[in-house]
């Protein structure tokens, strides 16, 4: 929470705007962050590291995720295998990276699609009003409390497991919070005088949506997207945990965790590592979301107060 006794120094924000784009600005922003929002900085760096590692997987991981040496089961960390080897003698570090690609990408794609679909339906609901609105909102009520794991299980049973199925399944339940939120925001923004003004001034509907509604809706939506990331990451994991998510030879963090559980007493690290990976990723994204919100809030607040 931004406290009033540490108000943003006006020149740091001013500086940010005028030097947009150059390195200096990035630096001053980081300095600013480290002074006022350390959590955001730390969480952001952790998440950025995770993403960079996952993007660079093909270059960093020295082993194929499915390459196994049956004779080296449960081997501890070594120069060759940084995090040791699992119950089939596969390289844990490589699997962690490849597995992370799956978990994180599926969560991200789901969230993006959910956000787009939800936003559209939310805007439609707010615009159309009446029966359409009522129906959509009741549907949201239903879907929002419909267990996402069950929907996913159902779809997996129907369509068979796979990347696409998972995305579809998680999107079916994932759009609802976005729709509800967008509807609320859109109604709120639609009631604003500047929308009236734009209408009266002859701005087209598209212009109003693109330049007034969406930019004002975007930030709260991005915030929920960040906050829901952790939740979705864990849900994707539960499917893999039940054996219906990612299928071998692919893996993801929860699948690694599930595989390693029987060997908990023999190789606790095998359970701990993927568990930590989920935890850290989910936590850092959540913190980034909250930090960003606080950060932007503080910025808005300063601008407002400086009037």
């Amino acid at each position: 929470m931004p406290q009033l006794d540490t108000p943003l120094s006006p020149d740091s924000v001013q500086g940010m705007r005028s030097r947009m784009g150059n390195l200096h600005m990035v630096k001053s922003w980081l300095v600013h962050l480290s002074r006022h929002n350390r959590t955001l900085l730390v969480a952001g760096s952790v998440f950025a590291t995770v993403i960079v590692l996952l993007l660079l997987t093909p270059w960093i991981a020295q082993h194929a995720p499915s390459a196994m040496t049956l004779s080296e089961r449960f081997a501890g960390p070594s120069a060759e295998h940084w995090l040791g080897q699992d119950h089939l003698g596969r390289d844990v570090f490589s699997r962690l990276l490849y597995g992370g690609q799956f978990s994180v990408s599926i969560t991200t794609i789901t969230l993006v699609i959910s956000a787009v679909v939800g936003t559209l339906l939310g805007v439609i609901s707010a615009r159309a009003g009446g029966v359409v609105d009522e129906f959509l909102m009741r549907l949201v009520d239903l879907m929002i409390s419909f267990p996402d794991v069950l929907v996913a299980l159902l779809l997996v049973a129907i369509l068979g497991p796979g990347y696409g199925t998972l995305i579809l399944a998680l999107t079916i339940t994932g759009w609802t919070p976005f729709a509800r939120m967008t509807r609320g925001l859109a109604l709120e923004i639609n009631a604003k005088d500047y929308i009236r003004a734009a209408e009266i001034l002859g701005c087209s509907r598209t212009f109003i949506i693109v330049y007034h509604v969406i930019p004002n809706v975007l930030r709260p939506l991005a915030t929920i997207a960040f906050l829901r990331f952790g939740h979705k990451l864990i849900t994707v994991g539960s499917l893999s945990f039940l054996g219906l998510g990612v299928q071998p030879p692919d893996t993801d963090w929860a699948a690694m965790l599930a595989e390693a559980l029987p060997y908990l007493d023999r190789a606790p690290a095998l359970v701990l590592i993927p568990g930590l990976a989920i935890f850290i990723t989910a936590l850092s994204v959540t913190l980034v979301g909250q930090g960003l919100e606080a950060h932007l809030d503080a910025k808005m607040k300063w601008r407002h107060e400086s009037k």
């Binding site: 929470m1 406290q3 009522e134 129906f135 009741r138 549907l139 009520d141 239903l142 929002i144 409390s145 419909f146 267990p147 996402d148 794991v149 069950l150 299980l153 159902l154 049973a157 129907i158 369509l159 068979g160 952790g230 939740h231 864990i234 994991g237 539960s238 945990f241 039940l242 929860a254 965790l257 599930a258 559980l261 908990l264 359970v271 568990g275 989920i278 935890f279 850290i280 989910a282 936590l283 959540t286 913190l287 909250q290």
Partner: protein, 315 residues
């Protein structure tokens, strides 16, 4: 108020109808032949001759046209009769009912615990904003939200059942077997509840009517209880209802890990076994429950928030 509920139910009935038809269609879209799946579950083997399968198909009435089956199903479903399970041949309603009871206990235990911790913790954190208690609450609640329950559950079994031997590791016998699964389930909602409670309490504390109450000479505590809590609870209650509905059918992982015979596992095994009546009844039960919980939440809202109450009354 009754009118608003009536209208809401009309729309919900429509939504339910759509959902049930989709649910009904499930076995016909997939690759899995439900009859074969059923046969395997009944006879415990993979190689079943065509005659057996055919006989089974007849027994289940699955040779009839789709729409006939649906209407048949719908007609009896409306009267609460979802037929007999393909597998156990018992009335589905009984199975769903018993699973539901288990799920309700588990869900209420976990969410009740989460709520009981979150409300005071969030409120105190909001009151002492920026203090060390606030910092601790904030960090913990953020961490809780990120803990996957499929990691927490085995760990808690390891510690509390295997090493310490205090609690049963699995099963559904007596109150002590509720503790571990409820605990494992409660952590994430607890995190969310606390965060929301804290935020909404801060909002309320900053709202003008609190200042006004103070100006009448009410102490901080009295103000909080008389004017703060009620307002601050509203968003938490919404969240509570969402989790409640979600967990009643969605605690599959925990129910599997702890061998709890709840709704999640019932529907999960119905999906795996192709036991369509159970699947349908289970899903309908979950959807209906969602509706009921939603309505109850609305009612709770109206009790807590007269603005909604009056609006609905005049609407």
């Amino acid at each position: 108020m009754p009118i608003f509920i009536l209208r809401r139910f009309a729309v919900l009935a429509l939504a339910l109808l759509v959902v049930t038809f989709l649910v009904f269609l499930i076995p016909y879209i997939g690759e899995t032949d439900p009859v074969r799946a059923l046969a395997r579950a009944r006879f415990g083997r993979l190689d079943l001759d065509a005659a057996t399968i055919e006989a089974l198909r007849l027994e289940l009435g699955m040779h009839r046209p789709l729409i006939v089956q649906y209407l048949d199903w719908l007609r009896s479903a409306v009267t609460g009769d979802f037929g007999n399970s393909y597998m156990s041949r018992e009335p589905v309603v009984e199975q769903v009912w018993s699973a539901l009871k288990v799920s309700v206990v588990l869900t209420l235990a976990s969410l009740g615990f989460a709520f009981a911790v979150a409300v005071p913790a969030g409120s105190i954190a909001a009151l002492r904003q920026g203090g060390s208690f606030d910092m601790a609450t904030k960090s913990l609640s953020q961490a809780f939200v990120a803990v996957p329950e499929y990691w927490l559950a085995p760990m808690s079994i390891l510690v509390f059942a295997l090493y310490l031997g205090w609690l049963p590791s699995a099963g559904w016998r007596g109150p002590e077997s509720v503790i571990l699964p409820a605990l494992a389930l409660s952590l994430r909602p607890m995190g969310y509840f606390t965060q929301v409670m804290r935020a909404s309490m801060i909002d309320v504390l900053n709202s003008p009517h609190i200042v006004a109450a103070h100006s009448r000479g009410l102490s901080v505590r009295r103000t909080l209880i008389a004017h703060g809590l009620r307002n601050a609870l509203l968003p938490v209650i919404t969240l509570f209802s969402v989790w409640m509905a979600g967990l009643l059918g969605g605690a599959v992982v925990i129910e599997v890990i702890f061998a709890v015979p709840g709704m999640g596992r019932l529907v999960y095994s119905a999906i795996v076994n192709g036991d369509i009546p159970v699947l349908q009844a289970g899903l309908v039960a979950i959807v209906t429950l969602a509706v009921v919980i939603n309505t109850v939440t609305d009612l709770a809202y109206t009790v807590l928030n007269p603005v909604v109450r009056i609006d609905n009354a005049t609407a």
